[in-house]
């Protein structure tokens, strides 16, 4: 359903093509099936955020194209929604107000969007925090608000940029499990950026390993571990260790 074809993106100093440039993405191609969970994994600076921003339609590629259901993508659209690395919460809105933001833009009437927002806040376990301001809640909770906000738009494709990068290990595990549960209940396609090998193996159907300078795809690794993964101890499965070793090797080499 999502196709990325030979995508390249260059950043120039002061946005001026006559100045020195930095190749953030070079010839990146891959495709994602409907309802698939794909992780983008790679070292810092390899262009993960850039790639996901191009897919979101926030910036334009210099070459290549993105297609969703066969239609080329050049701008943000209702079919895709993004969870930001730095949360991207509006500090002057309460938790509820932040979740309502996307629905408000879509012109959904007040009562209805209230109700939808509350439902999604409950889903991410933030019931009772509706009237808090972002700075009054913890980083993990803030990220859950970001996730609720994206989910509330019920996008076909959920783009998540290191959503759990800024939270502690325990919260992280809990959020991972919640995300998998939500994903399994809907038919959303997820593209999930991460730094962590364990996280990528635990969550995804497929890990796309990237490398830097210039940012490109190194290889794709299928993860054929049984689901649901939150039951039992998937991480103790020998296949888990095997995949982990394999990906680590790939990142190194």
């Amino acid at each position: 359903m999502l196709e990325v074809r030979q995508l390249s993106k260059v950043f120039f100093e002061q946005n001026d093509p006559s100045k020195p440039g930095l190749v953030a993405l070079y010839d990146v191609s891959f495709s994602v099936r409907k309802n698939e969970f794909v992780c983008l994994l790679g070292p810092s600076g390899c262009g993960k955020t850039t790639l996901i921003r191009v897919i979101a339609g926030l910036i334009q590629a210099d070459r290549g194209e993105i297609r969703v259901d066969g239609k080329p993508v050049t701008a943000p659209g209702r079919d895709r929604c993004m969870v930001f690395q730095q949360f991207g919460l509006l500090p002057w809105r309460t938790v509820l107000g932040n979740v309502e933001f996307g629905l408000e833009i879509d012109g959904i009437p007040r009562e209805q969007r209230r109700e939808i927002s509350r439902r999604y806040l409950e889903l991410v376990g933030l019931h009772g925090f509706e009237n808090y301001y972002p700075h009054q809640i913890s980083g993990g909770m803030q990220q859950r608000v970001g996730i609720a906000r994206a989910l509330s738009k019920e996008p076909d494709i959920l783009l998540m940029d290191e959503p759990f990068g800024a939270v502690d290990a325990q919260t992280r595990e809990q959020l991972q499990e919640e995300l998998l549960k939500i994903w399994s209940k809907t038919d959303t396609t997820v593209i999930f950026v991460t730094h962590s090998i364990d996280e990528s193996v635990y969550l995804s159907d497929r890990v796309i390993v990237m490398q830097s300078r210039p940012g490109r795809i190194k290889e794709e690794v299928r993860v054929e571990l049984p689901r649901p993964r939150w039951e039992g101890d998937v991480k103790a499965d020998p296949r888990f260790a095997e995949l982990r070793a394999r990906i680590r090797e790939s990142l190194r080499g």
């Binding site: 260059v10 120039f12 093509p17 006559s18 070079y26 210099d62 070459r63 300078r213």
Partner: protein, 275 residues
Amino acid sequence: MALNALEQQALTDLDLSRARPFRLADRLGAVRVLSVGLLILAWEIFGRDVNPLFLSYPSAIARATMQLLTAGEFQRQALGSLQVYAIGLSAALLLGIALGLLMGRYRLAEYILDPYVYALDATPRVALIPLLLLWFGLGPMSKIAIVFLSGLFPVLMNTFSGVRTVSASLVEVGRAYGAGERNIFAKIILPASLPFIMAGIRLAVGRALIGIITAEMFAAVTGLGALLIRYSSALATDKFFVPVIFLAVLGVILSHAVELWEKRLAPWKETERAL
């Protein structure tokens, strides 16, 4: 950062060096110059058609400038204004900093003085001009007083809040190293509140300039303010603009000077304040 071979190859392959389409946003300097040039040109052209009693135009103002400068009147009045300004402002800075330090450090001083300070700070100082003229006459004394009062409060208030924000932990560092009250004042409180004091001085410089011009305009006897009144009642709009432009330039120079001074005195602190 040097590019590696792969990056080089990628850049050549993508070949993005094509010229960018023309965008106004790439030519901001030109836009600026054009904007100013057009306004001056329009002023010159249309200004000539307007009754000269109401509006002058650039070349006439230039001519009036030369005329006033050769006559020497302008310089004399400007010098008079500047002397008064310098005396009043120096007094304001000295007393403002001293009182600010005192009030910031000693609570008794704060409680005794702050009713007056807050009340006077909130009262527009220009409202005192008629009273000061009554008290001190039309001579320099009344103007010095208004410059002093205009400059005093910004410095005082900023020094005060500067001393207040010097964190208790810094003072504690001083104590831990055996500093007495004098050393704490001189080596910790004063330098730590310097950026605030300088910001106060920056405000004071502008306020004092407004104070002196208003007073001179009101008394209408000597100084640049008096010139403004004289030329405007004589309907000499070309001459009127000469002190106006001088004052604008003076204002810019003074505030830049304070900024430079600020950077030299407190280079370790980037105080970006919104005015």
